[in-house]
């Protein structure tokens, strides 16, 4: 499967958007599945094991030569959570491309079997993800 995903991403037209939701294990990176992506974001929660996983994945993505590698903080409840992620990112010289707040609407959407964007379109998490999408797409605009 890894080689097929790699080839599909390689073939996808550069002017379109291709978003790969990867496996939870770092295997997709060590096996080069994401090699033809031009950016990778590692979604992290504000606790050590999650941050460490994100850092490892970011390191592997840099080794693959991806143009942009960044962390995205998710499920941020307060200033302390935010400070923990910001500190970690600075310490490891990683870009923090977005901050998504903890949002009760997301698990609620899952329980209801609905897309979060349909279930709670105006929720704080949806707004933060919209800002992230703009950030990533804007910096990737090619002449």
């Amino acid at each position: 499967m890894h080689a097929t995903v790699r080839s599909v991403i390689e073939t996808a037209p550069a002017e379109d958007v291709c978003i790969l939701d990867t496996e939870a294990s770092p295997e997709h990176l060590s096996r080069g599945t994401a090699r033809y992506a031009d950016a990778m974001i590692a979604v992290v929660e504000p606790y050590f094991k999650s941050l460490e996983t994100g850092r490892r994945m970011a390191g592997l993505a840099r080794d693959l030569g991806l143009e942009r590698v960044a962390l995205v903080a998710n499920k941020i409840r307060d200033e302390r959570d935010l400070a923990a992620v910001e500190e970690f990112a600075a310490q490891h010289e990683l870009e923090l491309a977005g901050v998504v707040p903890f949002d009760e609407q997301l698990p609620a959407a899952e329980r209801a079997g609905a897309a979060p964007l349909d279930f709670a379109p105006d929720s704080p998490a949806m707004e933060a993800i919209a800002a992230l999408a703009q950030n990533l797409a804007r910096s990737n605009g090619r002449a």
């Binding site: 080839s7 991403i9 939701d21 979604v43 994100g54 998710n74």
Partner: protein
Amino acid sequence: MKLAVAGKGGSGKTSISGTMARLLARDGRRVLAIDGDSNPNLALTLGIPAERMSAMPTLPRDLLDRSGGSALLTKTLEEICASHSVEGPDGVTLLVMAHPQHAGTG
């Protein structure tokens, strides 16, 4: 833009992937969302009903030709999407790389 979204299980990477895919499609971009997880659930986040996914045929195993040394797709991406992708809300095209072992779970 070709973006890989990674993270530990439960980090919320699928919610973020699916939501960004739909928002970028609303912006007028052509969006291909690929579920590369062996326990796929991107469809739900995109808002595609489970029934539509279970009706989807599994990707054939012979999509890659390795005879020339490097792996080449035996079909074009358009051909693969025509037979194996699902169009979701806002016009997002979803391609699921692996289906769950047991139908009806997850």
